[in-house]
């Protein structure tokens, strides 16, 4: 199993464009936005916070949604389409382990990206370290699990790798919108804000755990539920060839 994770990690790193984008892009975006003075000024709309403070959770949303929906479904559907899973089915090792290895690597990449964002925010812009680290960890893990599970559902149901990529991109765009990546959340109608806090990866819980007090347990519970339901659907519907 370790060998699988190692190989998957190598493949992840070798796919430079995607891996760099997933891990480094949120920090870059933070640095670029932070370079604009106006976005570093505390504003009453954000409850006395700066724009960049309020945008941190959306950066986390980006990372989780990008890895969970741009990488996971395409890689998994391609493995199936190319017969990689079928090939493994002939060995004593079950192909599910390859998928598990793939998930572990993607999860580690997501965590790495979030940690990097925390460090950059703290060092460069003096953003507080997460107020509620455990809450943030839960929010990231559950939100990530929910998003990855959605990615797996798409991989399970899409007939081809191309279709998987297309469907996943649509869902990705939608989650990015609800997660306030395109437009800051305060500019979105309150209904959209509401949907955003309950749709994976759970922007609200991340924001509260980082710069508020504690995340709302209902938001976390919803993420857990999404992971569970989507995970079950994916496992039931998955075709190995």
């Amino acid at each position: 199993m370790l060998r699988i994770i190692e190989v998957e990690a190598r493949l992840f790193v070798r796919d430079r464009l995607n891996s760099l984008f997933a891990v480094v892009f949120p920090c870059l975006l933070l640095l670029v936005l932070g370079a604009v003075p106006g976005l570093r000024t505390p504003l009453p709309e954000f409850g006395g916070l700066r724009f960049i403070d309020s945008y941190l959770s959306s950066l986390v949303v980006f990372t989780l949604a990008f890895i969970g929906l741009q990488r996971v479904p395409t890689v998994v559907a391609t493995y199936r389409e190319k017969g990689v899973l079928r090939r493994l089915a002939t060995t004593p090792m079950h192909p599910a382990r390859l998928l598990a290895g793939q998930m572990v690597v993607n999860f580690c990449a997501a965590i790495l990206s979030v940690l990097l964002t925390i460090v950059v925010a703290y060092v460069v812009f003096g953003v507080d370290l997460p107020h509620h680290p455990l809450g943030l960890a839960c929010a990231v893990v559950l939100g990530g699990a929910g998003t990855f599970a959605l990615g797996l559902v798409i991989a399970a149901l899409a007939p081809t790798a191309r279709a998987a990529g297309g469907w996943a991109t649509a869902v990705f765009m939608l989650l990015m919108f609800f997660g306030g990546v395109y437009l800051p959340r305060f500019m979105l109608p309150s209904v959209v804000q509401k949907i955003g806090s309950y749709s994976p990866p759970g922007v609200e819980a991340v924001q509260q755990a980082w710069l508020g007090s504690t995340p709302d347990w209902r938001h976390l519970a919803i993420m857990g539920l999404v992971s569970l339901v989507a995970g079950t659907v994916a496992a039931k519907a998955f075709r190995w060839e």
Binding site: I4, K82, R87, P92
Partner: protein
């Protein structure tokens, strides 16, 4: 002792019957060929033997056990199954070797050593096949299943692959070989099962299959003097005689030539322009599969 036993195997996909009451045994150390047109049930059969599919009917056993329980004793090279594009040859070999208790390294013998750092997506067709064979053999299997091993290879690569298969056999591995090419079956296989419409149409040695075809040998000549065709017809070896202009065409069993030339010698007739055509496995195949296009791929 039979290392592979297939009894009354049946498999259907929805309404379509892919394989219907197929039975055969493969002896240890044998190269057993499976021939047949597309859709005749070859791949489905070997997938059942590999434990990838569950038969709807009948049974399959490898080493006396259900195939799924002896995965590490079966090495499989599948048609159209690839590896991740960016995985390197060396990584694939070390990954697959970690699945088995006593891995064997075939990379040297298969000429893969210079390519260990090459990514799978950039390999030529021949190298991909060789890697695929190396991965099939990596668990030191007792049985290797090779499905359309040489399809898409150029003639040189095909011949190289054949010598690899012979090496594998001499290492004591039993081989189940699915193929489209008669030449390949004739050269490699000890016995061949010809599939047609999900059933075995014939099962024999390659030469046995050839001899099943009427008139497996054909002799043509122009006699130097008049020859009564009835004399030829009276020979027990002769199945058919026809005359086209001066040329006489005789077809019959394998020892036909000797019978015909003895007759001519007794009559002191010289055969001019003598030509002998041997029926090949190709002809046998076409006859056995009902004349469907062999090259249709």
């Amino acid at each position: 002792m039979a290392i592979i036993e297939v009894r009354d195997l049946g498999k259907r996909y929805g309404p379509r019957v892919a394989v219907n009451s197929v039975s055969f045994d493969v002896a240890e150390g044998e190269i057993f060929g499976i021939l047949g047109p597309n859709g005749a049930g070859k791949t489905t059969t070997v997938e059942c033997v590999a434990g990838l599919r569950k038969p709807d009917q009948g049974s399959v056993s490898v080493l006396g056990r259900p195939p799924a329980s002896v995965r590490s004793a079966i090495g499989v090279q599948l048609q159209a199954s690839e590896l991740p594009e960016r995985m390197r040859v060396g990584e694939a070999l070390s990954l697959f070797s970690s699945f088995y208790p006593s891995p064997a390294d075939w990379s040297e013998r298969l000429g893969l050593t210079p390519h260990l750092r090459a990514e799978f997506g950039r390999l030529s067709g021949g190298l991909k096949q060789r890697l695929s064979i190396a991965l099939a053999l990596i668990g030191s299997p007792r049985v290797a299943i090779l499905d359309e091993l040489t399809t898409g290879l150029d003639p040189q690569a095909r011949r190289d692959t054949w010598s690899v298969v012979e090496q594998v056999r001499s290492a004591g591995v039993t081989i189940l070989l699915v193929t489209h090419f008669m030449e390949e079956a004739e050269r490699l296989c000890d016995r061949v099962a010809v599939f047609r419409d999900g059933r075995i149409a014939a099962l024999d040695t390659p030469s046995g299959l050839v001899s099943r075809v009427d008139g497996s040998c054909r002799v043509r000549f122009v006699p130097s003097a008049f020859l009564d065709v009835a004399l030829l017809q009276a020979l027990p070896e002769v199945a058919e005689v026809s005359q086209v202009g001066e040329q006489i065409v005789v077809s019959g069993a394998e020892n036909l030539l000797h019978a015909v030339t003895s007759l001519l010698a007794r009559k002191q007739i010289v055969a001019r322009g003598l030509r002998v055509d041997q029926v090949s496995l190709d002809d046998a195949y076409v006859e056995l599969t009902g004349g469907r296009d062999v090259a249709d791929h």
